[in-house]
């Protein structure tokens, strides 16, 4: 069963097939610290994407020969659940998952102070539960939060977003239909504090000028994502702080009685 490709992905009013404007990101919902066993975890919904990330570590590394003498080894597994896509995907890791595991690891490594924990492993797991285009970006976004949730010291959060060209127009955050039917897709990951692009890929065709415009568009998307990440971290703590404030009040009330 293959999907029928829609005739036009963007209409004459520059409105996309899912109702979005050209530079509009999908709806994002983030939760931090949702898994009990992992040292750190986070979950994201971005449009129809549903992605979970978990971190174990720093911890003893097995097999031993993978240990690095001067820093922690960051190991990353990006994996898609068989039911995450239209046509069931075999659970065995595909070549695409191999490549994405590598580039995602390379996008997060610059942010972590791995040199503080030699001879250990920091294991990162990204599970795509439902996919709709842009999963590597959403995966990086949520993985960075899982690392922060695990208390692993970092230079900055890594924020990721894609931009591209669809039906001749430059757009932000392509969904699956747009990625497959469009002219170009450029996923990008960025550390705002260091002005560092840590992941950059592109497939499709763009003139030199378009390349620059699309990249700048993706950067703006990353900055938006960065704000959402910080809010999600704050939200988790605010709950704790409110609970504390409540307890303080209760304590005072009881003392008065």
């Amino acid at each position: 069963m293959s999907q029928k490709k829609p005739e036009k992905l963007i209409d004459e009013n520059d409105i996309r097939s899912d109702g979005r404007k050209l530079n509009e990101m999908r709806q994002v919902k983030i939760e931090v610290g949702i898994l009990g066993n992992a040292d750190g975890s986070a979950y994201i919904e971005m449009g129809k994407n549903r992605i979970l990330a978990a971190v174990y570590g720093p911890r003893e590394i097995h097999p031993r020969h993978q240990a690095l003498p001067d820093r922690a080894a960051l190991r990353c597994r990006y994996h898609m659940a068989p039911f995450s896509v239209q046509e069931r995907k075999s659970p065995a890791p595909s070549r695409r998952e191999h490549e994405l595991s590598k580039v995602i690891r390379e996008s997060l490594e610059p942010s972590i102070f791995t040199e503080y924990y030699p001879r250990t492993a920091i294991d990162l797991f990204i599970e795509v539960l439902q996919a709709d285009g842009g999963t590597r970006c959403a995966g990086i976004t949520v993985a960075s939060l899982a690392l922060a949730d695990a208390g692993i010291p970092m230079r900055d959060l890594v924020s990721a977003c894609a931009a591209g060209k669809v039906d001749g127009r430059l757009v932000l955050d392509l969904n699956d239909v747009e990625d497959k039917g469009g002219e170009a897709d450029m996923p990008l990951a960025y550390m705002p504090t260091m002005n560092a692009v840590t992941l950059l890929q592109m497939d499709g065709m763009l003139t030199g000028e378009e390349f620059e415009q699309v990249l700048n568009m993706a950067l703006e998307g990353c900055k938006q994502i960065n704000q959402l990440q910080k809010e999600a971290l704050r939200a988790k703590y605010k709950v704790v702080k409110e609970a504390e404030a409540e307890k303080e009040e209760e304590g005072e009330k009881e003392a008065a009685e």
Binding site: R95, V103, M205
Partner: protein
């Protein structure tokens, strides 16, 4: 036995020189090493080419076989790129299933060819939905001395240019090979250019020891009209957006120069 990792002293030397805009082998930041390209050396393959980029050596062979199309492109032939980091190419390559490095190499080379629509895949359809031709591009790394991506991509392009398809006719649903050949239908000629970042300097075509010192690499593939058709950042460092733009301008020029080695105008 020669150790593959440059000593710390050497690494420091390389980085120091590059900080001053110089490279250990005397090249300019935008110079490629000497390139030797030879085509058609493997008769059994439909197409082949061997590149020597400095001491990096890559052999690419193409094979064409009948197969089934993908469900969402029933009228098109299929392109498959595979890369092997052959164990004899480096003390660090081990026999076994493809690791992430060889998977990345194959997929980046594939991206350049696929996204530039270099092969006219619709001309490889025998029976829509049922039978098409599959073009296998097999990248065989024979000696690793740095910049496998550019070497493999250029050799793959040369192999495709060299590829000949046998003439055939369809009798009773079967493909019967006739005499004679025609060239593989090619429409575009993608070329990959890789930059390495060392400190805050960008250099083109890193050789092995420069790769060991680099912070990150950025590969850009260009099709014949100068459009970017693939991009891949690798390594655990980063680029600033300005560095990306700087690299892409240089790479666009270098791609034109490299293409001339394969496609005679």
């Amino acid at each position: 036995m020669v150790s593959v990792m440059a000593s710390k002293v050497r690494q420091k030397r390389i980085a120091q020189l590059i900080a001053r805009g110089k490279r250990l082998d005397g090249r300019e930041p935008t110079d490629y090493r000497e390139i030797q390209l030879e085509s058609g050396l493997i008769e059994r393959a439909e197409g082949s080419a061997r590149i020597r980029l400095g001491k990096t050596e890559v052999l690419v062979g193409t094979k064409i076989e009948a197969g089934e199309p993908f469900t969402d492109t029933p009228n098109e032939g299929v392109l498959t790129v595979n890369a092997e980091l052959v164990p004899l190419a480096s003390p660090t390559f081990e026999p076994g299933p493809p690791d992430e490095k060889s998977v990345e190499l194959a997929r980046v080379v594939d991206r350049g060819i696929r996204e530039s629509k270099a092969i006219a895949l619709e001309d490889l359809c025998v029976e829509p939905g049922k039978k098409v031709f599959v073009v296998f591009v097999d990248v065989y790394v024979l000696n690793h001395d740095g910049n496998l991506i550019d070497a493999s991509a250029l050799a793959a392009l040369a192999a495709l240019v060299n590829t000949k398809m046998f003439n055939y006719e369809v009798k009773e649903g079967e493909i019967k090979i006739k005499s004679g050949y025609k060239p593989l239908p090619l429409r575009n000629y993608p070329v990959a250019v890789t930059h390495a970042k060392i400190g805050d300097k960008l250099i083109v075509d890193p050789w092995l020891e420069e790769e060991q010192v680099m912070d990150a690499r950025l590969t850009l593939a260009f099709e014949k009209d100068g459009k970017v058709c693939a991009t891949q950042k690798g390594g655990d460092g980063y680029f600033t957006p300005q560095e990306v733009f700087e690299a892409s301008k240089i790479a666009q020029q270098k791609a034109i120069e490299l293409r001339k080695l394969v496609v005679k105008e």
